[in-house]
């Protein structure tokens, strides 16, 4: 196992296109680091530069203490995990895991030990003498993982490894990967466009956009303290609700008004966001996570009330997603435009009149809210997010939000 250090790494292509721009990133020994971002953000390029498949234009990459800028892929002791796995029908499960080691002329005792260890970790011990045809789809995937594990590499590199699997297998494999990392603690770098994968798997997540590092942090840190509008909108499912609001004062309290709504901002929020009070009388972009809503009848009494009319409900097992329309236009900013461009074409969008925006709230499944109902939401204003309308940067964000 080893740490991986990227120091001011650039990757430029002919014509001056920068796929990766001055990226510094410290992936700790044993850490599960997820590189996430929309298509073209540079995550796969970063992974491939670490693997040695892409040459870097400037900067340095170290695996452990070793500078690997010019080291061929095979000498980096990394395993690219189960892309295009092929299981061989005449070979047993054990041999399917072991053949790469045999190819490298490893002593038999060592091969046997590694295969036994991997089989134990993957729950494949009782299948070692069987042929792949006798295995389920999930077990076959685990054999493919076993082939990478027995190599005992310094790090695993995974480039969208679940993207070719069907939905059910994908969820199962996500869970297996998390368990596997928990047991092996091998440094892992994982590239994905799927922020749900990123948030469920990563010890830390590095959000990239247009080759630029946006923020690195734990999943909770990214959710609670996004450094800019892009991260705020990209991380979290459903996405953060955003609106241009005016900060004002009302009876000595600072308020945010948008459409017909007026939210009082607690003093603790102002205190935690230095400089926010300086926006009084000006516009900010206000963000509220869907999880910071609740049906007022079930919400904390202290939460601020906000009335709305329900358009659509999606009943999930543990919650209801409520889509409603607010009387304010969508935020018009380059960061939100980039997010919109990356949205799945199939994503359901309700028709919205000009000057209005769809918002989403997650409320308890105990709420009996139905489409067409008038509802009063409780809003946890202690978690409000504020962004500068010009730069898109979070207002009053502390530097701890973006760790190296």
């Amino acid at each position: 196992m080893a740490q991986i250090m990227l120091d001011h790494v650039d990757k430029s292509y002919a014509g001056g296109v920068k796929a990766v721009n001055d990226l510094s990133l410290h992936i700790r020994d044993g850490e599960f680091m997820v590189l996430v971002g929309p298509s073209g953000c540079g995550k796969s390029t970063v992974l491939r530069m670490i693997a040695g498949l892409e040459e870097i234009s400037s900067g340095s990459i170290r695996i452990g203490e070793l500078l690997v800028n010019d080291l061929p892929p095979k000498d980096r002791d990394l395993a690219m995990v189960f892309q295009n796995y092929a299981l061989y029908p005449h070979m047993t499960v054990g041999d399917n895991m072991a053949f790469g080691l045999k190819m490298r002329q490893m002593p038999k005792e060592e091969v046997d030990r590694r295969v036994a260890d991997a089989a134990r970790i993957l729950g494949l011990e009782q299948y070692l003498d069987r042929k792949p045809a006798a295995l389920s789809g999930g077990q076959r995937q685990r054999v493919a993982m076993g082939r990478a594990i027995v190599r005992e590499p310094q790090a695993f590199l995974m480039d969208e490894p679940l993207s070719n699997l069907d939905a059910k297998l994908r969820v199962g494999m996500r869970s297996s990967l998390a368990q596997l990392h928990e047991q092996l603690k091998v440094t892992t770098v994982y590239a994905t466009h799927d922020q749900v994968e990123a948030m469920t798997l990563g010890d830390r997540v590095c959000v990239l956009r247009d080759g630029l590092r946006q923020q690195v942090g734990t999943p909770g840190n990214l959710l609670d303290h996004p450094v800019n509008l892009f991260v705020a909108g990209f991380i979290g499912s459903p996405s953060m609700n955003l609106v241009t609001a005016r900060l004002g004062t009302d009876g000595g309290q600072v308020t945010a008004s948008f459409g017909a709504h007026l939210l009082t901002i607690p003093g603790s929020v102002l205190a935690a966001r230095p400089g926010l009070d300086g926006y009084a009388g000006r516009e900010v972009i206000l963000g509220i996570r869907p999880s910071d809503f609740e049906d007022a009848r079930l919400a904390e009494p202290s939460w601020v009330r906000m009335p709305a009319t329900v358009d659509v409900t999606e009943e999930l097992s543990s919650e209801i997603r409520v889509i409603f329309v607010i009387n304010a236009p969508p935020v018009d900013h380059q960061d939100t435009a980039a997010l919109a461009a990356d949205q799945d074409e199939d994503e359901a969008v309700i028709p919205i009149a000009e000057g209005k925006s769809p918002w989403t709230a997650r409320v308890s499944s105990r709420s009996r809210v139905r489409p067409g109902d008038s509802i009063e939401f409780g809003v946890d204003t202690s978690n409000l997010h504020f962004f500068d309308p010009g730069s898109g940067h979070a207002i009053g964000q502390t530097s701890s939000a973006s760790s190296s």
Binding site: E55, K74, Y88, G100, M103
Partner: protein, 423 residues
């Protein structure tokens, strides 16, 4: 929705296939069962329609569109690969797409080649063919990502094999590949080949004397050797420029490649020569044969047949004491030599090899018989002897005959597309 690249008139019959059902559940009379199939990552089935054979693979729409695009790009570059016919998408919500490719005529798999070798083990020719394909891909900026014997089909070409890419699911097209990408592709291929040979060994299908590790390890130096030969820069002294350039170009041709551009760069110690190699197969002899005789053949077959035409022309000129034009000689050769020789092949054996390959083997056999007899036995006698003694021993294709097919392939039995294991 069927997305295809026109014209595809002959594939129109595919539109009546039951695309609204999962591929694995199809019950259509045009389905062809392929024996000795290994495991598949995806469902692959084969269809015989209007005298053509197709492979249908069920994969996600994203992958299908990508593979369709990449296979078309390979076709435009004239890199040997299966021909993509189209994709079927939007079948129903959540349904995978279906990628349709045309089955490669007279092709075979590494498994078939190992299980019924002709004239020694195929190891060397398999590796050479695979290396040449990989180099062509890399020259054109293609990263294969899943190079293996299983993902390749092979065709006999006058004593050598030609390799065709079957699966481009994981391929990527770049303006150019880095050394790291090339090295990684070769490393992946080495591991895959070793796994495939270990697998044959485990199944008792690997001939004695073939070492899986040594065979797989031979790939990398062969690849490096060919890559270096095609891409090396050399420094020439002024007085040797002309012949050294000609020598280099001839060497490229011998390796089956053509020069695209020759760069001469002045340097203090002489002139540096760099030759940019054409990605496409040379095809020079194939084109020439088609122009002269109207016969489609692979490159080595064409070279062999052209030599026979030239020899026949010499014979005519000597016999008649007058010059004979190339065109007339070729025309008469087809009528008096090629067609009669192939006519000696009974219908039941015509599916064994492509006609130019059969003719090439007849010529080989004539040489062998003539050497034994101490005189030229002639093509007619050689053809009859070949049909009686050699052709029946050529391995039969691996599946049952498809009834209802017409044309050359109507007689052909399908080989096991081992590629389908990985396709």
């Amino acid at each position: 929705m069927f997305v295809f690249s026109p014209p595809a008139d002959e594939a129109a019959g595919l539109l009546t296939l039951p695309f609204s059902e999962p591929l694995e559940e199809w019950q259509d009379e045009r389905l062809v069962e392929v024996r000795q199939r290994g495991i598949s990552r995806h469902v692959v089935r084969f269809i015989a329609d209007s005298g053509e054979l197709y492979a249908l693979k069920s994969i996600s729409e994203r992958l299908a569109r990508r593979e369709y695009r990449l296979l078309r790009a390979l076709a435009e570059l004239n890199v040997p690969a299966v021909e993509v016919v189209g994709i079927v998408v939007d079948r129903w919500t959540e349904a995978d797409a279906i990628l349709v490719t045309r089955f490669l005529d007279y092709s075979t798999t590494y498994r078939a080649l190992f299980s019924t070798p002709r004239g020694g083990q195929p190891t060397d020719s398999l590796l050479d063919a695979l290396v040449e394909l990989l180099v062509r891909l890399h020259l054109s900026g293609f990263f294969w990502g899943d190079c293996s014997l299983s993902n390749t089909l092979f065709r006999q070409d006058a004593g050598t094999l030609e390799a065709y890419l079957v699966d481009a699911e994981t391929s990527e097209q770049h303006p150019a590949l880095s050394a790291g990408q090339r090295a990684w592709d070769v490393e992946l291929a080495t591991e895959r080949i070793c796994g495939e040979l270990f697998d044959l060994e485990a199944g008792g299908l690997l001939p004695a004397g073939v070492d899986p590790v040594a065979t797989a390890d031979a790939l990398q130096p062969r690849y490096e050797g060919l890559w270096e030969e095609l891409n090396r820069e050399e420094t020439l002294r002024p007085e040797e420029q002309r012949y050294r350039i000609a020598e280099r170009l001839r060497r490229l041709n011998e390796l089956g490649f053509d020069a695209d551009e020759v760069e001469l760069i002045s340097a203090p110690d002489g002139t540096r020569l760099h030759v940019r190699t054409k990605v496409a197969e040379s095809g020079q002899h194939s084109r020439q044969l088609f122009q002269q005789a109207g016969i489609s053949a692979d490159e080595n077959q064409a070279r062999r047949l052209l030599n026979d035409i030239a020899s026949f022309r010499g014979y005519l000129e000597l016999r008649d004491g007058a010059g004979v034009s190339e065109t007339v000689a070729a025309h008469r050769w087809v009528q008096e030599v090629y067609e009669p020789a192939l006519a000696a092949v009974p219908a039941g054996l015509r599916d064994r090899l492509a006609p130019p390959e059969i003719f090439h083997e007849i010529l080989e056999h004539r040489w062998y018989l003539s050497e034994q007899a101490g005189r030229d036995v002639g093509t007619t006698m050689a053809a009859q002897s070949y049909v009686d003694t050699v052709l029946p021993e050529v391995p039969r294709p691996l599946t049952t005959t498809i009834e209802g097919l017409t044309g050359p392939r109507g007689q052909q039995e399908l080989v096991d597309e081992g590629a389908a294991e990985e396709a």
